[in-house]
Amino acid sequence: MEDKELDYYIKSFKKTGDNSAYEKIYRYFFAKIYRFVLLNVSDHQAAEDIAIDVFYKVYNHLREINLDYAAFKPWIYRIARNLVIDFYRKHSSKNDVSLQQYMEEIHADECEAEVFIESDFDENNIFPYTSDLSVEEGFSNPALLKGLEKLPEIQKQVIILRYVEDLDYRSIGKIIGKSEISVRAIKFRAILKLKELLYS
């Protein structure tokens, strides 16, 4: 969807409350928000619940809030991030949704992880993915996900927003409430840490 198109649907929904315009916005953003949440909480059910909450908030409040399409994207990710933080707070004591546990349950095994870590730089060999992969297949990269899991929360979010969600530093700054320079620094530290975790 182009920016102009998105702008049109946002304006249309704000003006008339038209559900078809909302659905266009929803379809465009759902996969992104779901993925962002899933990578953060590592739990399908929780990701679904949080994504529903995000879009429920958008559905109910977008009409009252003065936002154009450029500000909409950081805003929706910011809502998602806040809900993820709430989720962390609620589950910090239980810690029942660790990514490691999740991967062990589904399909990851240590051998696979070692293959990833030790393999050489060869994308055809290491990353045989296509764009039509489902969630489970996307998760078949356990070492990286383990590494992400071990990063501090803020570093993990910056890395996901920058490289998975493809957002620019300015937008990320707006989402996490930091300056562009801080975001760059956090990203750099996260990359160094990730390298250390995966290749040490």
């Binding site: 559900n19 659905e23 929803y26 759902f30 996969a31 779901y34 993925r35 990578l39 679904e48 529903i52 879009f55 429920y56 908030k57 559905y59 109910n60 409040h61 009252e64 809030i65 003065n66 936002l67 500000a71 950081p74 805003w75 910011r78 809502i79 050489d120 730089f121 994308e123 290491i126 990353f127 993915y129 296509t130 764009s131 039509d132 992969l133 489902s134 969630v135 297949e137 996307g138 998760f139 990269n141 990286l144 890395i159 996901i160 490289y163 998975v164 493809d166 530093y169 300015r170 707006k174 989402i175 409430g177 300056s179 562009e180 990203k187 750099f188 990359i191 990730l194 390298k195 290749y199």
Partner: protein
């Protein structure tokens, strides 16, 4: 050996800067042939992260969530933090990168302006030799510098009036004992009066009036502080 394990951070930063500018990972690696092996690990991580974009929910999940959003919206008693959402919107809308330094700059500028204005205002009643007197004189010079030539007349006349007023105040204050400042004031009165005469700011009537006042004040100051000059003889 250290180079193999701990790559130069500057090179790494340049590599990521290039990546951020939209250059493909392979091309970025080509730009650093000497570090290709070390950068390969970082390139691999970055590429792997990008592959996480392949994570997509099932269509059924997407549809189910949409239904849930609509059904949740129909339940009216769900409490929601509207204010937080509005604040979030204001943050994403209002916070460009330059805003913080701009606010700091404006704050400092306003603070300095107010302080300076206050100091000038406070220096208005100062006499030669006072701490703030130099501020008063500087503000007069600034006023002259920023006034067009044809409007300078009123400023010079005001300055002459001010110097004579200061001389009068000194003469009326028996405790004033700064001889050096008084001597300087006499020369200032001379300079200002001469400038007014040279530029023909004084017509014949006001010329006589000011000449008389200048002579009177100078004489008074010379006598009071026993300075060398025309007034000493009385």
């Amino acid at each position: 050996m250290k180079r193999n394990t701990d790559i130069n951070k500057k090179i790494l930063k340049r590599f990521y800067k290039l990546l951020d500018s939209g250059v493909a990972i392979e091309e970025c690696l080509e730009k650093f042939p000497g570090y290709k092996d070390e950068l390969a690990a970082y390139a691999s991580i970055t590429r792997n992260l990008k592959y996480l974009q392949n994570i997509k929910p099932e269509k059924t999940v997407e549809d189910y969530c949409l239904k849930m959003v609509y059904s949740k919206s129909r339940i009216s008693n769900i409490t929601d933090d509207k204010e937080t959402l509005k604040r979030d919107a204001a943050i994403v809308r209002m916070r460009p990168a330059y805003l913080k330094p701009l606010v700091i700059f404006l704050g400092v500028f306003i603070f300095i302006s107010f302080s300076f204005t206050g100091t000038i205002y406070a220096s208005d009643d100062s006499l030669p030799g006072d701490t703030l007197y130099s501020v008063k004189r500087v503000s007069e010079s600034v006023a002259v510098a920023f006034t067009p030539y044809k409007y300078e007349k009123s400023i010079y006349l005001k300055m002459l009036e001010e110097r004579l007023f200061e001389a009068g105040k000194i003469l009326n204050n028996p405790e004033y004992s700064n001889t050096e400042a008084a001597e300087k004031l006499i020369s200032d009165i001379d300079v200002t009066f001469n400038r007014c005469c040279q530029r023909k700011y004084l017509d014949s009537g006001s010329n006589t009036y000011f000449e008389e006042r200048v002579r009177h004040m100078k004489g008074g100051l010379h006598n009071r502080y026993r300075l060398q000059g025309p007034g000493t003889s009385g």
